[in-house]
């Protein structure tokens, strides 16, 4: 079971389980709506007249209730989100770390994300980006706000031809176009990627971000998880939630990202806490839908009995099998005749006389 493996992993890293209410007051979300990826909430009036909402997000709740000292928690819970014109229940597992987040703390969380992916599939990839890098780059190139938005949206689709088009419309210069194209084109193992941007001679602020990434990278190497981490700036787009590192994880069996996370210091700060925060979440439903292998059988043994069967013998027979760890489906013969097309036993179907 994926969930058990993840639970074990999170506990190995010293995280404790966090359980929370299913509802929060609506006000809480409307105050923090910038941190929500959606504005669609399921709301209802509680018996005392307060307007409540089913939680669309877990991070916010944890952040409000947790202390600002080094807090390490994990959760396995459901959130309610809109998708395809309907509300859906989404099962999530994730971790949040709140406190002083230094290079080591950042690397530790990323290494945990990699090992979480390993729990799910033997092949995986984790793409890492930095929202500070991209926003500093756009500032350094003196690009105004509305154009920044357009460029970020081109980034999220890896649309290099779109950048060329901006160039041909004279909205960006040839130099800017080629710098942006070079950055957007990067999809490299993180070490190589960092070397490449080092060679591009950016300003001081960007250099600092790059040095930070490089330090985290060295620690990740010692955690032994560096080989499938890639640098990819295409996912920096429009994330007001994150400040600093952003990462997304995928496995070949699932066609969408199954893990997403990053650094979000602005949230605790908005809530008046003097600390940073980093975390990630896995979409358990998505994993289950794509990774589940077809079951070849329903039970180990199907035990069929009739009115004539000695019930005492039947009971001890069933008990004996269950004690051996076998799953037993006990059924009356008349009923069995009706359902036998649908159910299948691994070992044998026994008819108890």
């Amino acid at each position: 079971m994926t969930e058990n493996k993840l639970k074990e992993l999170f506990e190995l890293y010293g995280y404790r389980k966090y359980r929370m209410n299913r509802f929060e007051t609506y006000d809480f979300y409307s105050e923090n709506k910038n941190f929500l990826k959606t504005s669609n909430l399921i709301t209802f009036t509680d018996l005392d007249g307060r307007l409540m909402a089913m939680k669309p997000d877990i991070t916010l709740s944890i952040m409000r209730n947790a202390g600002s000292e080094d807090e390490k928690v994990y959760y396995m819970d459901t959130v309610y989100r809109a998708g395809d014109n309907h509300y859906r229940e989404v099962a999530q597992a994730g971790v949040e770390r709140i406190g002083q987040i230094d290079d080591y703390a950042e690397a530790e969380v990323i290494s945990m994300a990699v090992r979480a992916l390993k729990c799910i599939s033997s092949d995986y990839s984790l793409r890492v980006s930095d929202s500070d890098f991209v926003s500093s780059l756009l500032d350094e190139l003196n690009i105004d706000e509305p154009l920044q938005k357009e460029i970020l949206s081109l980034f999220s689709r890896k649309n290099c031809d779109g950048l060329k088009k901006l160039r041909s419309e004279n909205r960006i210069s040839g130099d800017i176009c080629s710098v942006l194209t070079d950055v957007l084109d990067i999809y490299l193992p993180i070490k190589e990627g960092i070397e490449k941007i080092r060679g591009m001679e950016f300003g001081e602020k960007i250099q600092k971000t790059v040095e930070h990434m490089s330090k985290v990278c060295e620690i990740l190497d010692s955690f032994g998880v560096l080989d499938k981490i890639y640098l990819d700036f295409s996912m920096a787009a429009g994330m007001t939630y994150y400040s600093g590192v952003i990462f997304r994880g995928a496995v070949p069996e699932v066609p969408m990202n199954i893990l997403s996370g990053g650094r979000y210091d602005t949230l605790p700060q908005k809530m008046g806490k003097d600390s940073g925060a980093i975390g990630f979440a896995l979409d358990l439903d998505l994993i289950e839908n794509y990774m589940k292998t077809e079951k070849e059988y329903d039970y180990d043994v199907i035990l069929v009995y009739t009115d004539k069967t000695d019930k005492k013998k039947l009971a001890s027979m069933q008990t004996e099998m269950m004690e051996k760890g076998k799953t037993v489906f006990c059924i009356r013969e008349e009923t069995y005749e009706k359902v036998k097309e649908r159910i299948k036993a691994k070992e044998e179907t026994i008819c108890a006389k």
């Binding site: 990839s125 649309n159 969408m256």
Partner: protein
């Protein structure tokens, strides 16, 4: 193995010939056959034809790793995919068209007939014009003639159909051309194959 979703019709055939000239040919495709998928094991490629407006869904959900579709459909359905190349073919324009003597009465809600409700909505909310969308699935040009709509938002290639029906382009919204798109996860796990195909197509683009 790279799964390629091609749009049924002229555009898809053009793209297939670009790919086949680059060595991604598939003999089965060229024969008259009732098969739905076509494989060239040596080149590691599998093609299938789908409805043009479905290409984005196939790629977003990973049933196809890459695909080709018009920018009009990309903008309308916004699939979460990478848009790797502008192939420079299938060129046309997304336009607002109306009867030649049409004058916009800004006191009234504008009735817009279109196959592309999102595109139309985005355009008009960008200029703060209140509109009533009338979603049609074909023969859009007839709507203003019968008084069903004031204007239409549709793709215009040569403008011949408009002209024959006494309509004209009032405003161009955007240029359309075919795009080579890729699933975001396939881009990671089949990066080499995707890049190879992308580069092969790049060679064939006529500027």
């Amino acid at each position: 193995m790279l799964n390629v979703a091609l749009p049924k019709g002229r555009l898809g055939e053009k793209v297939y010939s670009m790919l086949s000239e680059s060595g991604y040919s598939c003999r089965e495709m060229e024969e008259d056959s009732r098969k739905l998928t076509f494989e060239n094991k040596e080149r590691g490629v599998r093609y299938f034809w789908v409805k043009p407006s479905d290409v984005g869904i196939y790629v977003e959900r990973g049933a196809a790793d890459v695909g080709v579709l018009g920018k009009d459909i990309l903008v309308e359905y916004m699939p979460d995919v990478y848009e790797l190349l502008d192939l420079g073919i299938g060129k046309c324009r997304m336009c607002v068209a109306a009867k030649k003597d049409f004058r916009d009465n800004t006191e009234k809600t504008l009735r817009v007939a279109t196959k592309f409700p999102k595109t139309a909505m985005d355009y008009y909310s960008g200029i703060d014009r209140d509109i009533d969308i009338i979603k049609l699935n074909g023969s859009i040009e007839i709507a203003p003639l019968l008084g069903l709509a004031d204007v239409i938002v549709d793709i215009v290639e040569t403008g011949k159909t408009l002209k024959e029906n006494n309509l004209e382009v009032k405003k161009e919204i955007m240029d359309i051309s075919a795009r080579f798109i890729c699933n975001k996860v396939s881009y990671q796990f089949k990066n080499e194959e995707v890049k190879k195909m992308e580069n092969a197509l790049k060679q064939r683009i006529v500027q």
